[in-house]
Each structure stands twice: as structure tokens, then as C-alpha cells.
Symmetry: C2
Subunit: 368 residues, 2 copies
DNA sequence: CATTTTTTGATTGACGTCAATCATTCTGGA
DNA sequence: TCCAGAATGATTGACGTCAATCAAAAAATG
């Protein structure tokens, strides 16, 4: 774009330093420094002169120099549900792979395990890190007033807080990084509906628990689309599985052998290893359709082997990168760079990433 | 992850500097500096001692300090096809939105327009920037031996070269950032096949030109999947449109009114505004299915208005971010941070980003 | 007007690395 | 053994910002 070129030309060689700004503003370096670092004791008149000069010259603080000087290291923590969970294993694996690059950027990341889905546990974990002097944390959150107090305490320490994957109470976090789970459910519905091509259908829905916001949202979105656009498809009552693989397998088995049988299965939650195991040894009707969430090794495999037709994924690697970028920007007091919405990613057999996400987990113990 | 925590502890407070490394290695700072900056005139023995110490202490060069010292500014250029092209407008829009953050990171980006799909034009553009002292360039490439010489000249200047969206001859670029277009075509085929749910189908295919590698690849992938998994679907001979919207519109019109009519349309290339215009005022058979590429304002709108059922997108914003990250890493001589494959992104009505990509273009002149 | 208070200017030593200089010390070949 | 060439050590001034200090000037107060 032409603009970019002229921009660089405008900067006539080198970019202005704070000294340049001070000179242009007709004040001393010290005063300019007082202005940009909010040190107080500056006359309004001087403040304006400095700001004008900054705008005039297009001054942008040299982050590298600033960080060097103040010995800034970004101390971050990710609070993730503990346990053998394929999805969060991907998150951790990605953080691990990044570690070398993180240290080069003066970023340290601690991963702190929290009890999954337990408000009290999360609250305690939050409280326990109040004194840990983190600059920022990314939290796989819960919606509960009981964690507002800990969050407030952290915020008063100057800790930047973002919600990851599952949101926190909106007033207590600076950003949410995650997908819209209603949209994810709608997407599942759309493609499942499509797969029926106008034919009649009976769909068995499975979910971990409707207390989990993401599961409830997905279910809602799914029902919306089917109800609206695919009247020939009947939705059976969802079965709650607590994301237990064995339970998931059993439910699917029953759905397939019932009379009349189902034409499709949609698992809103996790425990898909059980589902895959059942599908591996069960006969299915022609054009049977199966949708699950999160691309992990066994869903990847199942997609390739045609036990599963669709995986809706939330790209944990992208989410982690984004969380890091946003945390860093917020800690620096910069505004957040423009970025497009995170959208539920649809995988079919043909657009799978070649690199299978590697996480070490035992087959049985996966959750969403 | 426990590892992260112990790591930070291992670093006992502060991270080692090059002075620490020198001390640990039993050499002077000067020698350590000679080693890590490849200045030569160092005994093998010393080299090893320094490397050992680096490994021992876990030394990582402080990029901020290094860049500050050497006054590093990353001078980058993006070579994009000129013209009113909705897709590349998105690329430019994204770069524009990033500009503020780029200057803060000492990155300057020039966008250089090249003649679309013309080998000679690209070669000349490449030659013309040999003396511009760029540190790195991202090029929307072509496959031709005629651009190897210019690329070689650039490389000899120390310019880092990456291919963007469309690859360059592999020996002359350090990375390719773009999707696998065969996979994109396969994906289109998979979902189009799915939408027919076993019924018979006739598909009109449109493409800009099979000389364009991406178009050829998509077509190939599409045919693979249909031929293999959907025998009931008949593929009509693809029509070449040169991505001309009017031509696209005319072809679609004819396909819809022919006898027997088509059940689906797949446009491998661009010119979709013509397609949308035709679909807006034409009757279509029940369960007619339409797949196109690239989410731009009019395909976005068409997806919402049900003229189009599927958009396969390559996320130009993600590609740009990735190009920037990779260029920076390569210029710094670092290795590339781990990142998952770029996959063709599937949009249905329900997983669209809420923020419609804003590009200013006239309706008629879009190309892929 | 004298006195306090506020505001400015001037200066300085980090921060960790780069890039250069100059003075030594070591090594190997004639 | 001597000497050239190689290897090393020691040191230094940037780079742009931060954070602090001290003195000086300006403004506000009584």
C-alpha cells in the first residue's frame, strides 16, 4: 500500500528518540521523560507541548530499549485445569514448544494446575498467587461471584488478567480469548443438517455436563440450527456423560443398536476415545454422521479412519499465542493489536494439519 | 506444567548474561563475544568451552539488548499483486492495522505492487529492490526459472525470502506461508459430496486459469475426492473464467438453466461477485449447493443470504502475522518457533467472524 | 517582599549487547 | 630460537530508555 511507503519516507532515515521529542517540544529530556512516564509535577502547558511534539514527530517508544532499561521480564502464569486432558495437553505442549522463544523475549510462563470446574479450587489458586508478583495471568475461568474477590485482589496488585477458553466474570478480566461456543454448536448443527441432505434423521446428543458453560452453549447453538433449518431431523434427549469415555462409548452403542437407530451422533463434550472405540466395532447405517469437538490424537485418527466425519476445533495453539500477545500488550500498557475473531475451526478428513498434535496421554483419561 | 516452574527456579533469580557465560567458560568477554557472533579467530577449544558454558547456564541472547545495540530495524517488503483484488486488499488492510505495532517493534513494511501472474514483471520487481537493502521480503510467488536469477541476487545481498500464498521455487526461499491448495480442493469436494447425501449430482466447476498453480491444485484435490468417494456426482467440464466476474456470472446462469440443470457449483477461482449476482435473481433447485473461495465482503454477505453455502478461506491475516514472525526470526538467525500447519478454513453461515473484513473495493473488479 | 512550593533542567549510571581498538600472550614453522 | 600469525584479554563508547539526584528557576503563597 502506498501509505506504508510514504510513512517510511516521512520518518526520514531514523526514528525519533525521546531526546528529539524533548528538543522539538522545547523542554528538557527530563521533562519529556516525566510526561511519558507519568511521573507528575509537570505543568499542563509542558504536557501539551510534549504530546504535540510526539504527534508531530510520530514518536513511538522503543520497547526494546525500555524493557532493557527497566529490566522488564514478563512474568506470566497460565491457570489450567489439572488432569489428563487431551485438549489442555495440547495447550501445554504448545507452551513447551514455545519456551525457548519465550525466554528470548524475556517472558517466563508458569503453568499452574487448578481443580477442573471447581469454583472453590479456582478461587484458592487465585488467592495463592496474589503474592507471586505475576505481571499477567491467563485463566481458564468459571462464571461465579465467588471468584470475584480473588480476582479483585489480583487486579489491585496490578496483575493483568485474561480469560482463556472459558470466560471469567467480564468485569474482572481485560480480555477473553476463546471461541463462541454457541457458534460452534451452530456449526456442528449446520454440517450435520447438511449431511442429511433433506432426509429424515435421528440424532443422539451427548454432553459432559450442562453446568459447563461451553457445553450448554454448544447444545443451544446446535438446537437452534436444527430446529430452524432442518425440520426432518429429530433430536433425542441429550445424555450427560461427565466426559467419561466409558459412558460415552456405552451411550453410543445403545443409540446405534436401538430401534429405530440413529442417523447421527453429536458429542458436545469429551470422552471421545470411548466413542471411537464403540464405532470401531459397531455397524453403522449408511451415511451415518458423527461430529465431535477438539482435534486430539484419537479424534484425528478417527477422522482419518472414517469413524468420525467432522471435528470442530478451537485451535489451542492459536489461542495460546494470542493470549501471550495480548498479555504482553496489556502489560506494556499498549493497546491490543487488531486481530480477527477466533472462529470454531472445522476439520474434515481433507484439511487436517499434517503434524498431528503430540500430547502424551493415556487413551482412557481424556476430557474436553 | 511442572517443567516451566522448575525452569524458572533453575535460573535462580536472573538470567545469565554473556559476561556470566564468559566467566563460566573461563574466557574473556571478548572471546565469548567472538564465539557467539562468529567473528572468527577463535581456537576450537575456546569455542567449545563457550558453547558448553552456554548450555550449562541456559544462556539465551537478550534480543532486546542486541537489537538496541546494533540499531536493528527490520526492513521488510511485501510483494503483492497489484490491482483491485479483494483478497489482497485484506492482506493490505491487515498490514495497515498492524502498522502502529510494527513501528514499536522496529519493523518497517513496504508494500510493493507487482503485476499479477506475470513472470517478467515479478522478476523486474525483484531486481529493482536488490539495492533497497531490505532485510527480508515476502513474495506472492510464481513457479518459474526466470525468477531464480533475481532471487539469487537478493539472497546474495543477505535478504531473507519467504513465499506467501503462492510459493516460489523451493531452493530460493526460506519458507512458504500458505495453505495446501490440494487440501483446499479436497475439502470443497468433501463437503459438496456430503451435501448430496448419496443423491445424484451434477457439478459445474469454474476456475480462473489452470496456469495458476493454486487453481490447478484445488481442482485436482476436488476431483480426487469426488471421484473416490462420491460416484453419484458427475463433474462437468470446468470453465475458465480468468476470474472475470461477468464471465463467472454468465457461466453460472447457463449452468442453472441448462437441461438437466446442475445440483452444485464450485468456483475454484475468483470473480464471485458475478456468481452472487446471478444467484440472487435465479431460481435454484432444492438443496442446490455452492462453494467458493476466500471470505471477502461479498462472499461473506452471500453466505449469510444463503446464495453461497460454503466459503473456503485462507485467513490472510493469519498468514501475514506468520510471515512477519518467520521473517523476523530468520533475520535474527533464530529458528522458527513451532507453529501448526495453515489449514484451509471452512466457513458456513454459523462460524463467521463477527468483524467483517473491511476492504475498499469496487464490486466488479475482484480477483482471487 | 520573603518564603514556600512547583516546575524545570542537567546529569548520571544502569540495562545487555555490539563492534571496535589495542595490547598481550600463545603457537607453530623456518 | 626467533618471528609471524593467530588467539586472547581488557576496555570502551554507543544504542534508547528508565530512574534517580541535585540544583536552579519559576510560580504561588502569605
Amino acid at each position: 500500500m502506498k501509505a506504508s511507503r510514504t510513512d517510511s519516507i516521512k520518518q526520514t532515515g531514523r526514528k525519533p528518540t525521546l531526546s528529539d521529542v524533548a528538543r522539538a517540544a522545547g523542554v528538557s529530556y527530563a521533562t519529556a521523560d516525566r510526561v511519558i512516564n507519568d511521573r507528575g509535577n509537570v505543568a499542563q502547558k509542558s504536557v501539551r507541548k510534549v504530546h504535540d511534539a510526539m504527534a508531530e514527530l510520530g514518536y513511538v517508544r522503543n520497547v526494546a530499549a525500555a524493557n532493557l532499561s527497566r529490566q522488564r521480564t514478563y512474568r506470566l502464569a497460565f491457570l489450567l485445569p489439572k488432569g489428563r486432558n487431551a485438549f489442555f495437553s495440547r495447550v501445554r505442549a504448545h507452551l513447551d514448544g514455545l519456551s525457548e522463544h519465550l525466554v528470548a523475549d524475556q517472558i517466563s510462563v508458569d503453568v499452574i494446575e487448578i481443580d477442573a470446574f471447581e469454583v472453590e479450587g479456582l478461587g484458592n489458586s487465585l488467592l495463592s498467587i496474589v503474592d507471586a508478583a505475576y505481571d499477567g495471568i491467563a485463566v481458564v475461568g468459571l462464571q461465579s461471584v465467588d471468584i470475584e474477590a480473588p480476582l479483585r485482589a489480583l487486579r489491585e496488585q496490578g496483575v493483568v488478567i485474561v480469560g482463556l477458553v472459558s470466560d471469567l466474570p467480564v468485569d474482572y478480566r481485560s480480555a477473553y480469548i476463546g471461541i463462541d461456543n454457541i457458534a460452534a454448536g451452530r456449526t456442528a448443527g449446520r454440517l450435520l443438517g447438511l449431511s442429511h441432505g433433506g432426509r429424515k434423521g435421528r440424532v443422539q446428543i451427548l454432553a459432559g455436563s450442562l453446568d459447563a458453560r461451553d457445553h450448554a452453549d454448544r447444545l443451544r447453538g446446535f438446537r437452534e440450527v436444527i430446529g430452524q433449518d432442518y425440520p426432518n431431523i429429530e433430536l433425542l434427549e441429550p445424555v450427560m456423560t461427565l466426559d467419561d469415555a466409558r459412558k460415552v462409548g456405552a451411550v453410543v452403542q445403545q443409540a446405534l443398536t436401538a430401534e429405530p437407530g440413529v442417523t447421527a451422533v453429536y458429542n458436545v463434550g469429551a470422552g471421545n476415545s470411548g466413542l471411537v472405540a464403540t464405532l470401531e466395532h459397531c455397524d453403522r447405517p449408511a451415511r451415518f454422521f458423527c461430529v465431535v469437538h477438539e482435534l486430539v490424537p484419537h479424534t484425528h485418527r478417527a477422522l482419518m479412519h472414517k469413524q468420525v466425519d467432522l471435528v470442530i476445533d478451537q485451535r489451542p495453539d492459536v489461542e495460546v499465542n494470542r493470549a501471550l500477545t495480548i498479555l504482553k500488550a496489556l502489560i506494556d500498557g499498549r493497546d491490543i493489536p487488531p486481530m480477527q475473531d477466533l472462529v470454531p475451526t472445522i476439520y474434515v478428513r481433507d484439511n487436517l494439519p499434517s503434524h498431528i498434535p503430540d500430547t502424551n496421554l493415556t487413551e482412557q483419561g481424556d476430557h474436553d
